[in-house]
Amino acid sequence: MDINMTEEVQNLLKDEGFKKEEIQEIIEKAESNGKKLKHKSEDTFIAKDDSENLTTYAVYTISGEGINLNNVYSHKMHIDGLTGGELHEVENDDQSEWICQKCNETALERNVDMSYMGVTRAGPAIVCPKCQEFYVSDGVAKTLKTAESILEEKRA
């Protein structure tokens, strides 16, 4: 499976310390087991890899020429589960722009508990209501990066 990327994305990989092979593996795994999000109106997908200290996301499209990698991002905060425990009805519009490809369900935007450096707090995530797989958008990852920096400074 070939991965195509612009110079901008190549630089992003370099700046963030990702290897192309790692990202390729994340995408291949998602393509084989179907655990990925698909945008409601575009042929864009999000695949992820949870390791102990880092969750990495790849945003990509598929064309006849292979995989086009559009964005890569990560966060160190570990998602523990839904804030408040269980998935229950909420009275705000929590439908995300994403569909869980595996379950064919519209993913919801919900608060999840996130832990980092011994601190657990809530944060916003995209959650499949059926398989309860959690994802984070690129914008929220940026927000989490700021939160992580603050915790690193304060907990040092």
């Binding site: 705000n92 916003p124 700021t146």
Partner: protein, 370 residues
């Protein structure tokens, strides 16, 4: 009064106060609960200045706030804001008053057609507008002169507060009955404005702490369904969008007034790792901290409150007693606790009453969880 006319801030105090302030967010052990009485124009009264002078002079305002924080031994953050932001950016007229915060005199929306034609300003346009220009004069001063007391706050307010800064409150409330879809439209524009305003602060300072919530949309003026439709839902949408734009991470849900019938909705409002929920009143009584912690303690930092009417008109003993009850009920809340006032510290509150809140935190707010 220029910066050099103030006595230097005691650095030992600042370090200690900073540690108290960090605990609710980062679970770092410290001695006791921090107190944030939301000092704004009250600081002016400490320097024999008027609220009008305070709001017309943002650089001086933030200096006065920072030094008043030291004087009272409270949370070291240089606030500057008022309720009626964002009206003049869209062509309204803001009047500076001598004895009260600035208030909207003329609003940009007067007819339903104006709502349709109302165009939300871009982040670039907002950054140059009068609200941010004034706001950044204060924040830049704080960042330069009191860097350890700086927080990149944006006074977003909620969708109903924006709606009633853009159109007269009586018109908005009439439309809620006669043409609720029009108010939906107005609130939807408020959502876009909130996102754009957050982007401005995040771009300027690298982070953003949004003050939002529900003030006009409280139980004394609106019922639960109205609050849900015109405040909770659009505010949730705005906060979610802001976080998805990377323009967080701070969220301060300021639920001013009576929220007996809608407080539970906010348990599911979008949260970030740095979220505070503050609820003013439960009916006519101060919102019990025990109820706040029971509902929000496992979700975010709880901001327990002392009745601002009591701080303004009560005795120090009455203030102390209420602060004591609130701090005892909240101090070991799992995700942090702050003791403060139900809303802004009244301009002419007796200093002894503000001190009584701090004294209660010192006497009864020692953490047991560390």
């Amino acid at each position: 009064m220029p910066a050099e006319d103030y006595a230097p801030i005691n650095q030992d105090w600042l370090e200690k106060a900073g540690n108290l302030w960090t605990t609710p967010w980062a679970d770092t052990p410290s001695e006791r609960v921090t107190v944030d009485p939301i000092i704004l124009s009250h600081a002016a009264s400490m320097f024999r200045k008027s609220p009008g002078y305070f709001y017309k002079n943002p650089e001086e305002a933030v200096r006065m706030v920072c030094h008043t924080c030291e004087l009272y031994d409270v949370t070291p953050v240089g606030h500057y804001l008022y309720a009626d932001y964002w009206g003049e950016d869209y062509g309204g007229e803001l009047k500076f008053q001598e004895s009260a915060p600035p208030g909207m005199q003329k609003r940009p929306i007067t007819t339903p057609e104006d709502v349709d034609n109302f165009e939300v300003l871009s982040p670039e346009e907002l950054a140059k507008g009068p609200s941010f220009t004034r706001h950044f004069r204060a924040l830049d001063t704080c960042k330069e002169e009191y860097p350890q007391m700086f927080a990149p706050i944006t006074q977003l307010a909620g969708t109903m507060e924006l709606a009633t800064n853009w159109a007269a409150i009586e018109d908005v409330f009439m439309w809620m009955i006669t043409d609720p879809d029009l108010v939906d439209k107005l609130c939807s524009k408020a959502v876009d404005h909130m996102v754009n305003a957050s982007k401005v602060t995040a771009d300027r300072y690298g982070a953003n702490v949004m003050i939002t919530g529900s003030v006009v949309a409280s139980g004394d003026l609106m019922d639960r369904e109205q609050i849900k439709r015109f405040s909770y839902n659009p505010v949730s949408k705005a906060v979610r969008k802001v976080l998805n734009e990377g323009a967080g991470p701070g969220i301060y849900y300021h639920l001013c007034g009576n929220h007996s019938d809608d407080f539970d909705l906010w348990k599911d409002a979008p949260m970030s790792p740095f979220t505070i929920v503050q609820i003013g009143y439960d009916g006519k009584e101060i919102f019990p901290t025990s109820k706040l912690v029971e509902n929000f303690g496992d979700r975010c930092t709880c901001f327990g409150t002392v009745d601002t009417k009591l701080v303004d008109r009560g005795t120090p003993a009455q203030v102390y007693e209420q602060a004591k009850q609130q701090v005892l009920a909240g101090k070991d809340s799992p995700r942090g606790f702050i003791l403060g006032t139900a809303c802004e510290c009244p301009t002419n509150a007796p200093p002894a009453n503000v001190h009584a809140i701090v004294k209660a935190a010192k006497d009864h707010g020692k953490y047991e969880k560390f």
